[in-house]
Subunit: 422 residues, 4 copies
């Protein structure tokens, strides 16, 4: 199993080169060690000793690979060079994420780990020098962990304006009260970026009552982590339910201006949705390869799966799902890169289209593998869960359909109609 | 949340009464305690002490409910009265399972727990008096656990005739060698019923080389349990991979005749598929109730979900999924009960149709609940996984479609065509 | 090709007998002559002489068959015996329509022809003796044709309360003004039953402004038939666009009371939707038979279609579509017959579910037949158009989904939840 | 209603300019006259006089528009300049066809009319000077009509190698015998290009028994046109069933070499499939515009359709269908233009994907329009039929899925896997 990349006609040669170099590292360093590196996660299948040995071997391997990634100049591709990253632009990152997603856990070997990488990007863009020194540098150095605290149980995640967690200014502090859940990385984080409705009676920092991001160290009094929310039957997770009760943080922890939080979230979600989709597409390629390769060797009822029409149908349908999802995502990415006014519609479209296509491809690959498909022996079961969650995270499908429709209808109301052919 | 049953017109009054009595127990005893009983499973959300208290309270509650089930004459409904069961017939059981499935874990409160209950039924039907004394009675008394060991990693589960685990007769013993996986209850079991290809050179017990069920105590030398296979990211499970290496068991452990294993498996799978479907339908009712009730109270973008067309569409589509799945399952059950020659086709149809409908209903309910839908706070996430597994267990959809088509085509080749209107 | 009926277990023996007798007539009289009877419609494929001969032969055959239907006591099954019909009840008719629909045009050989038969039923129920004498008897005798004039171009057909055609009382006459379209049988009809908003200043006949049915002879001044609306590229049709311009008809042409029109339309649509669905199901059986039989003989790429998995998949999926559509329709019919309060929900469900299933089955049958499937050589192409129209006639799918959802939600708001298991 | 084109970033400026110029003609000349030009087809809705007037006015308008097209240098874009065409290359044509398809019947106003234009292209490529003089020039001048005669009723259209119509050489003539159907333009044609299995005992012209195209004047003895095959209930059509019975044509009517027929058919089908898809996409744009514009003005149940979630869902889903179909088609077209080895797979993919997406978009537009949607008042009903036929013409979906799968599997068998990311 290996990634087979060839230059895409018409694409920026630098991106084609980036794709080739990334694929080379994945093919030579990551894929051959994938089994070994993730083996320690197998839990009860291993004895305590085996697990310990495996864990040590895994750490060692990971450090070796990270060193090669660093040598190749591909470490932390999302960060500016001044912060030790590769300083890639939006489109380059999108194409790179597609390739990284093919190998399980490869992105962390390239210095990318949600939500830290997203938080780092926000700190780079909105942080003061002091904030960068205090939070960004340790984050990049791996000395700190961080979380992103936005979603609230009492309000639809699809409507950021409905956020009720409130930060009220009291002298040179914010006093924060609110109830959040699905705060990622909640257990390990040293600080959270918390999305609040900030009320500053003085109005000196911006418009009161508007969404604002505030950095909250997790050891501040009143940051009550209630639980890691278990999902899909897992006993726990690092997505936490948190109550902020009279949490006091200094005003200088405001990230950007009061009221800039909505924009920052949109930045994160806009580009982020393209990255998420490219990430899904990389996984679809993996699922596709797993499906086709299984069909070459698995015999049932006196024949190979590859010669059965049902399986041929699965392969053909999956090829179409992959191609359409991929072309739509690249088209959306180009619109984002070109500041095309239709970019928002295109992003809502891939937010709906890609997870659905991802689900179908993985679902077929699981069906071809049978019991092994839902087991931890293959990455398919995890992909199946991921695809499901993507349909409700960052705004459920239904909300994005409404957004698409409203954008489109607006253009017809204005009398121009849709832009035929783009 | 409660089950609202009314008599089904035209249905045997005894079954209507059984439905009413079962629903009454679920409504008054199980549902009000559901949260409390399953709380201890919440893992890291609880402190060690809380978990211990919760566990004790849960055990106590469970015993109280079991006593009431026993008083109501509904304990172990699948077992004959002589073995302490309620002695229900096939159709009664099917209708009862629908209701039990509504409440999480209710069936174990009624003395039904896979695979023990299926194994007990096989022992009742095929076991010798000695076997019943030795394995059935302790199983019923809860003094033993059991597993069912059929599926093999190297062969399609959909083709029982391809089983390669072999039992070769050596004097008055079988010597068993083979490789199984997804053997249910593998970790706790005291004995397995192992599906083998039995070769008896004397031929005295039946046709050599034919599928045969053999009782294998799990502490027999050579029963090597390799691992509980983790699925969907869970660290482990009680579905085990097992190597049988020169396992010797006495000939009297043969369950039924040599060669009768295929029939026994079909018995189990035939009725079992109807039970599985009724089980799915009971869960669909629960998911449906959860979805509709959420829509009555959840506000988004200035309105209740119940007033949004997308949600109304979800409710209407789910109603149709539930009704069609339910009517097809009852129709198949009646065909089984009437020894209708089309029963096999009808069973393959529900094997494909019901899990797909189950998936869609649960998927929509999850979408309506958002993040909570995939969390362990609700039974929906587990249902989502169950529905997926059902599409590949006991023969994947594709195999059952082929079976349906072949049965139908056969009738046209014979010149009669299908039976219009049944 | 023949209908193969066997008694349905548990069904009223009289209905089983009716099914058997109807199928016998279809198998022995209609199907063997189907080709001959409909040949004259083949248009340009025949010379003028051939068409004339064919037309004569067709009329002759049709009269012979009608005589046999009459002898068998199955003529005009929807009409009371006193009006020369077979006097069948609702459920019997539903089962009979399923069988009639199998053969192209068979219902007219049994004395049933929309919209005359629906109009006759309304006249039987709501008509005065005088109205029956004047309109019903000639209609039954075949001396008159009739149309049903409800849908308006400017208002959604799904909302009968939005009807704007107005009848204003002027002495002992109504003066009708309005714009209708898709008035069935518009070209041949001698009278229309026109759905109006009747305003009677005296209020003596009922509540003003409520929907009312009025009999309008088509030769009344002001009945302006604009055109037969061509659909699907056909040059014309008998579904007409009509402007009623100051049309005066006597008050005694009021059919039922002022304000009773809505109820009458619901009667027609309620039972009518069950009949429509049974009609669709009979056609699905025909399409299913055509598909399977083709697969037995058609060779492609070195094998029979019946041995290809794609075709086996088509057959299996179509079997499930047929079974689920049929069981849901029968369940809805029983609810109507039992005055079950859920009948309306069940009828909306089949209104949506059955045409969609019908479409899928016909679509697959067409695909199996290739070019012949869309040609007039087979009844499939016409079925394809019918299935499409059914999804928007009598209220589009979307409206019925909303109705279903509202009925369901209402029950949860009341606190009872849905009736588990019916 | 108008086409709104803006330059596509990255596309050849000449093509962007072509798109702009074509759209301008459609917007200013064709769309404003569409209703008038096609009115005469409305059949029974018009009196004989009205129809005659309308027909005359239509001819006049059409000639005016053709003159403008000619002035704009866009006449016969598929033909080389030396034959009076615009001499456009493959990609330019593909983009132009998308725009032409938006307006009903526009392509004939630009000098393109199937199957004449396809036949002309074949004559340009394979014809001798003599053949061009005799058949091509009159065809281009509109003095002759032509047909393409390939499909046979006894063999799957998806397998051109199964053709049985035979041409046996007898001296300096071919003697042709065979049975064809769905020969386009059969009634009006002056000559057919007939696909035969040519057997030349001398072998002098190529390999005997290989597919060969032969020009057959329709007035040759033995060309027996049995009928125009009616489809979808239309009384007749210009797709004919033909028996060739001892038809003698001179050897010099051979078009290209003996055995070159398969290649010529592939040429036609390969590029042709891209053109067909662009044609479908242009119609999807029209259907999309019709749907959205209707939603802006149609009121139901107290609100505009545009504000209903079901309709917003239709619009969003249709946008995704349009975008994905369009991007896949352009991607396939570029692969064809670049002689990419994956072009065949990409073409099979759009052959399956695009008609399905076309169907869904049109289906939703019809649902939004209700009865008008299936009437001849709008182009939607015809699109609905077209989309259905496309799924079985030129090889049914199932065959193209198998082709895709085989191409993909082949690459994995070779060990390279699919080309990640193209």
């Amino acid at each position: 199993m290996a990634i087979n990349v060839t230059p895409i006609p018409g694409l920026d040669p630098a991106i084609n080169d980036l794709r080739r170099r990334t694929a080379h590292l994945i093919n030579t360093e990551v894929l051959p060690n994938e089994e070994e590196m993730w083996r320690s996660r197998r839990g009860a299948e291993l004895t305590e000793d085996e697990r310990e040995t495996s864990r040590r071997r895994s750490i060692e391997l990971r450090e070796q690979i990270k060193a090669k990634v660093f040598q190749a100049g591909l470490w932390a591709p999302h960060l500016p060079k001044e912060y030790g990253g590769a300083g890639l632009d939006f489109l380059s990152l999108a194409y790179m994420y597609e390739i990284l997603a093919y190998a399980v856990g490869a992105s962390s070997l390239f210095g990318i780990a949600a939500p830290n990488s997203g938080n780092a990007s926000i700190l780079v863009k909105y942080g003061t020098e002091e904030q960068k020194r205090k939070w960004l540098l340790p984050l990049i150095a791996g000395e700190m962990e961080s979380g992103f605290s936005m979603t609230e149980p009492d309000h639809a995640g699809s409507d950021p304006r409905s956020i009720e967690t409130e930060a009220v200014r009291d002298g040179d502090h914010w006093v924060i009260n609110g109830h959040k859940w699905f705060t990622s990385n909640g257990i390990d984080a040293n600080f959270f970026i918390v999305m609040c409705r900030a009320n500053d009676a003085t109005g000196e920092m911006g418009t009161p009552g508007r969404m604002t991001q505030i950095i909250v160290p997790t050891d501040t009094a009143g940051v009550n982590i209630i639980r890691g929310i278990g999902v899909f039957g897992h006993a726990t997770s690092d997505h936490c339910e948190i109550r902020y009760e009279n949490v006091r943080v200094p005003i200088e922890n405001t990230l950007g201006l009061v009221g800039q939080g909505h924009q920052a979230a949109q930045d994160r979600l806009g580009a982020g949705r393209v990255y998420h989709c490219m990430n899904s597409i990389g996984q679809m390629w993996r699922a596709f390869d797993l499906m086709v390769e299984r069909s070459l060797v698995r015999e049932v009822h006196g024949g190979l799966l590859k010669d059965k029409q049902f399986i041929q149908g699965f392969i053909a349908e999956s090829y179409m799902d992959l191609q359409s999802a991929r072309l739509m995502t690249i088209n959306a990415a180009e619109k984002v890169a070109n500041d095309d006014p239709d970019a928002r519609t295109a992003i809502s479209a891939i937010k709906v289209f890609v997870p659905a296509a991802f689900h179908r491809v993985v679902d077929r690959a699981i069906q071809v593998w049978g019991g092994a498909g839902v087991s931890n022996d293959l990455p398919l079961a995890q992909m199946y869960l991921t695809a499901r969650v993507l349909r409700l995270a960052d705004g459920p499908d239904e909300v994005h359909k409404i957004l698409m429709a409203k954008n489109i209808i607006h253009r017809y109301e204005e009398g121009t109609g849709w832009n035929f052919g783009t």
